[in-house]
Symmetry: C2
Subunit: 408 residues, 2 copies
């Protein structure tokens, strides 16, 4: 019989969100009358906007005509979409042939792990989006899990005391550094001087940054960088991953992109973009062409205006959640609240409590599902992530319930 | 600087189809007046059928309404689609929770390679669809390329003398066996007794078969099995990969599926389905929901009737190509013709000639692009694959030109 892949066997437990779903449905089964509201998973709830629906509909219609039909496209995406991403979202800081359209950031992160293979020193922020760690373990770039996380992974704590920006001097030679800003789960957005520090350290150590900017559309402060390429030198040390999921509600439609600058090379001089192109043409076949026409619609004037309104809606939810956690029973109990202003996540610390205990407490006491911070890494312990992705009336109702809990 | 992933560095050359595209566009540039027709890549050309367009349109419309919107779905796909695949396409030989909907067979093969990891003995048919080999090299399950193919890969020749069904007794203990039927590129379809041989050998050796049935919708002979699960015992030794790409023209829309039976286990008893589920929830996020509703429409009565007409159309093209190669200048020159009756590919042998020479000859002499058999593996040398995916008038024109060439 074939042996189990030892790298996959190294994964210690289930992926965070399925685990939450399991606890939620067990609770629902035991309490069939409970009206559970989720502020847990970052799952969009508002309908696609009209102009994007029009773009998708036109694409479907065209595929049904002899003139408009197309089969396989370029694995890297429609030329028009690549150009529009480079122009509209990056102001031409990168070239359109450095844009690789994909079926989403999570999938691209998996393919990037495949690209770099098992022999890399993985560095993550702690807490971090689970895919950086879990995917690294699965590809064999990390070992078994221990008391302080997976062997072979360097965790850089992001805490209130460092403003959720880690000590980048701990990044050692030849590392693969996952960095997410606006951050999931902390909601922190790295400033320009902070990203300059990060890029300098990557240059100094010959490291590559995987910059996850999937939430950049939520940045409202014009001083905050939306892309790593706003930082001088990033083109020689950073890959950027981004997504249409949250800005335009494409979580289920599936569309994202990755930027691989042509200057980025491996130690032997091979351009990373060459191997990336080879890999994506071999084990990937491009994002759905329908989804791509939707993405294209989102980047013209009408689409951009709709996107702004949609992201504003979720940011207003975040603001409501923030206010709730800053008052009522929370503030007197010493609960600390972060994020939620330039990011759709609010990150709250419950001093002296375990994350999963707080999770169970909210589920039981007010039927609100949140995400336990410990699920994002050791430094997430005692924290809870609240997602702003929800219908307004549901968010208001959840906040109303939260404001009436009795914190022990 | 980060080192290049040695497994990816082991890949000897470009992926076959980009290489063909390169030669084609170089020729077009040098001969701007040439009206090139492609019978090369297996890329669908006919528009989506009306009922499927309706299914896709309704899905887009619903996503634009508060009641119909959905975000992330189950990574394994819509329950309704999984049930319909199990019921309509497998007659319940497999269960719906063993169906994993994906963005296509090629992408799933990449993820299966990720699942099994580098420590497997890879066995492929020779010739074979390049992704089995290239993906195995990239994940580190094969070494450098030599005179007889990549080190660590067992190539099982499929030639006219064995009816394009390999000597399966050469499958050794604990192998991962890629098997494609209807075959790309040879167009051969394995019979029931042949698949029984294959399954028995897999059982005997503790091997796992990755059964690629992406072209099963083209089988017209009712005696030929469309799924490996029609063979007793396959549930303990086979994973099946399939696709909506060719049957309903979804090459660009992206939709496929993989079956992982619950009885299939690793040596330590871990169900393969458990690791597959963990992997796909971690580095994949499901196929586009829009595409899934299109797939759903294709599996009701109207959709199935449309699919039949569409696949008949391509099979008629295959028949036209077959007839051309069996007559004119070809038959007297000893050209042998295979496939094309229960598969959309015609596989022709040009005795004494090199595949790429024949490719260049057709491109130059009649501006027809085909696929050099040697690109599919050592045993494909001297062969040419003709794809039946094309507009009828183009296929007729290409065949008209082909019938007038002067074979040396």
């Amino acid at each position: 019989m074939l042996k189990r892949n030892p790298s996959i066997a190294n994964l210690s437990s289930g992926y965070l969100f399925p685990e939450i779903a399991k606890r939620r449905s067990a609770y629902a089964k035991a309490h069939p009358d409970a009206k559970i509201i989720s502020l847990g998973i970052g799952n969009t709830t508002e309908p696609l906007t009209p102009h994007i629906v029009d773009g998708l509909t036109a694409a479907v219609h065209n595929l049904g005509t002899p003139e408009g039909y197309s089969g396989y496209g370029d694995e890297a995406g429609l030329t028009a979409l690549r150009e529009k991403i480079a122009h509209v979202l990056y102001n031409n800081l990168i070239r359109s042939d450095e844009v690789f359209v994909s079926d989403g950031a999570k999938c691209d992160i998996g393919r990037l792990q495949y690209l770099f293979g098992p022999r890399v020193n993985v560095v993550v922020q702690d807490p971090a989006y689970p895919v950086y760690v879990d995917g690294s373990v699965m590809i064999g770039a990390a070992g078994k899990s221990g008391a302080t996380g997976y062997r072979g992974i360097t965790y850089l704590p992001c805490t209130a005391s460092n403003g959720f920006f880690p000590d980048v001097s701990r990044i050692k030679k030849n590392s693969l550094v996952y960095f997410c800003s606006p951050n999931n789960p902390t909601g922190a957005v790295a400033t320009r001087p902070q990203l300059e520090q990060l890029v300098r350290q990557a240059q100094k150590t010959g490291s590559v940054i995987i910059f996850d900017s999937a939430y950049s559309a939520f940045i409202r402060d014009p001083q905050l960088p939306k892309s790593i390429y706003e930082i001088d030198g990033a083109r020689t040390c950073a890959i950027e991953v981004n997504s249409f999921s949250k800005p335009i509600g494409f979580t289920g439609v599936r569309l994202g992109w990755t930027i691989v600058p042509s200057e980025l090379t491996f130690a032997d001089g091979t351009p990373v973009i060459r191997d990336w192109s080879r890999l994506t043409t071999t084990i990937f076949n491009g994002a759905s062409n329908i989804a791509q026409y939707g993405g294209l619609a989102s980047l013209d004037e009408t689409g951009l205006a709709e996107t702004r309104l949609l992201t504003d809606y979720y940011l207003e939810n975040a603001s409501i959640i923030r206010k709730t956690l800053l008052s009522g029973p929370f503030s007197p109990a010493g609960v600390e609240v972060y994020g939620g202003d330039n990011a759709p996540y609010v990150w709250a610390r419950f001093p002296g409590k375990k994350s999963w205990d707080v999770f169970d407490f909210f589920l039981d006491s007010c039927h609100v599902v949140c995400t336990p911070g410990a699920g994002f890494g050791p430094a997430g312990e005692s924290f809870i992530r609240f997602s702003s992705f929800g219908h307004r009336e549901q968010v208001l109702e959840a906040c109303n319930r939260l404001s009436q809990v009795h914190l022990s």
